[in-house]
Assembly symmetry: C2
Homo-oligomer: 254 residues x 2
DNA sequence: GCAAAAGTGTTCGAGCTACACCCATGC
DNA sequence: GCATGGGTGTAGCTCGAACACTTTTGC
């Protein structure tokens, strides 16, 4: 996997002034989760933990690499996945982004100058939670329910919150919910995606009537197997149908 | 005005790696326009024009300045206006953003290294076209109909197109159309904003029924004066009512 | 046979679409 | 008095909201 990555993605001279941070969302049918990496720094002499918290996954860009490429590279390094839903949502450039002591200590220990001004570009990603390799540059990676995230390194709580806002907006307007599910999914699972992320309860019958109108959600001749209840029909997203039937200008709301 | 600007906005050490570009939209009841600045370079010895085209307005950020501040500063320098609708819409970071010969010549003449990698953050702005001072750093500034823009310096055509896409999306979803109009406006003018930007024809009666439902568009006890037809009632946007009555989750569309 | 989730129809009201004529003003 | 845009209502249809019961499977 790492070998592929080295060939597939450009590596080159690091740009020290611009980075990309990825907010990677996964869904476990009960909660929305975000992929975070452990940030641990131990004092060599005393054995004391100086830093021990979590961050998003991010990286400086390479000089020969576009922003979208950098985000795809980070996502690939972290998950081994490609062709994943990935969207740039906001650039963060406050001059005081890095002001907490532990962030400065961490940067110094990583051979960086904590006084450097770094502008970071945020991407969020949606993927099927069951496909991920939880390893990144020797650091532990873990899924954490978004609702339980309280503090993160750097300004990553801000970045996560902005990603969430954008995700909620996009989820309402564009068909992306199933990006968090396996390729074949049930309508109940899809409904859960909307309920959990938007924090609402939806009526099952009304939801299904709505789906029936979306021709691009295609019913398959397959059912769930091995479940202790009436097995549900499986659906899939049909991209061609979506492209063909999407109405460019829906209603507008002033 | 310039004096104010120097006091109001931070000036400091320039960050050479990140810039902000502003796509400033104005509306003249027939067309959507964008504010562009002339880029002219004349060979001192021969008197020959080496470069003569147009660009968006942009600038490097200062080290002590946030991205939003930089955008507001640029907008202020260019228009003398503050508290104007301004929205970050996308970061542009292709390593080949600056590859055309005339862009390199221009940068060299401005004392920059054209091989430097610069990531730029795009903002778009909506304002009343009649309030603008058309002067910027000694360069001529002009309103140009968006439909007539064919080529611009650097990658500014890409930036403009992305801004337009974002504007159209936002216009449908959020009440921002009147940002392009004077504080008091008629419903016909508002309707024109939607028609021109979205490229559609709207029914006058249906449009007005819709507006009647939006309590935040408040009818004033004032009418147009000096027009050669029945004078129209004036409306204004009531921000408090908007904040109070906005429904956070409208309908969702899968 | 029981626990668990799948699947299905109707009624009501709000809002979208389409469509045509009279009104107030300046010149 | 005429040219110009302002201002208004109705009918049909689609879609959203609310609401309860039967079906199929594993155990």
């Amino acid at each position: 996997m790492e070998g592929d990555s080295i060939h597939k993605y450009k590596r080159g001279v690091i740009n020290n002034f611009v980075s990309v941070d990825c907010v990677i969302f996964g869904f476990d049918f009960n909660r929305l989760n975000v992929l975070l990496v452990d940030r641990v720094l131990i004092d060599e002499s005393t054995g004391e933990e100086i830093v021990n918290d979590l961050t998003l996954t991010g990286n400086h860009i390479y000089e020969n690499e576009d922003l979208d490429e950098a985000a795809a590279r980070i996502l690939f390094d972290l998950t081994g996945l490609e062709d994943i839903y990935l969207k740039q949502f906001k650039a963060f450039g406050s001059p005081t982004r890095i002001s907490r002591e532990k962030d400065k200590i961490w940067l110094k220990a990583s051979g960086r100058n904590p006084e450097d001004r770094i502008v970071t570009v945020g991407y969020y990603s949606l993927l099927d939670i069951d496909q991920v390799t939880l390893q990144w540059k020797g650091r532990d990676v873990r899924w954490t329910p978004v609702a339980e995230v309280t503090d993160l390194g750097f300004d990553h709580v801000d970045i996560l919150n902005e990603a969430l806002k954008e995700l909620r907006k996009d989820l309402i307007r564009e068909p992306i919910g199933f990006e968090l599910l396996p390729e074949k999914f049930t309508l109940s699972h899809l409904q859960r995606v909307y309920e959990v992320i938007l924090g609402v309860n939806l009526d099952k019958r009304n939801f299904r009537k709505k789906v029936a109108r979306m021709k691009y959600l295609r019913q398959l001749d397959e059912k769930q197997v091995g479940v202790a209840h009436k097995p549900a029909r499986l659906y899939t997203f049909d991209k061609d149908t979506y492209e063909a039937t999407r109405r460019e200008l829906l209603d507008f709301a002033i």
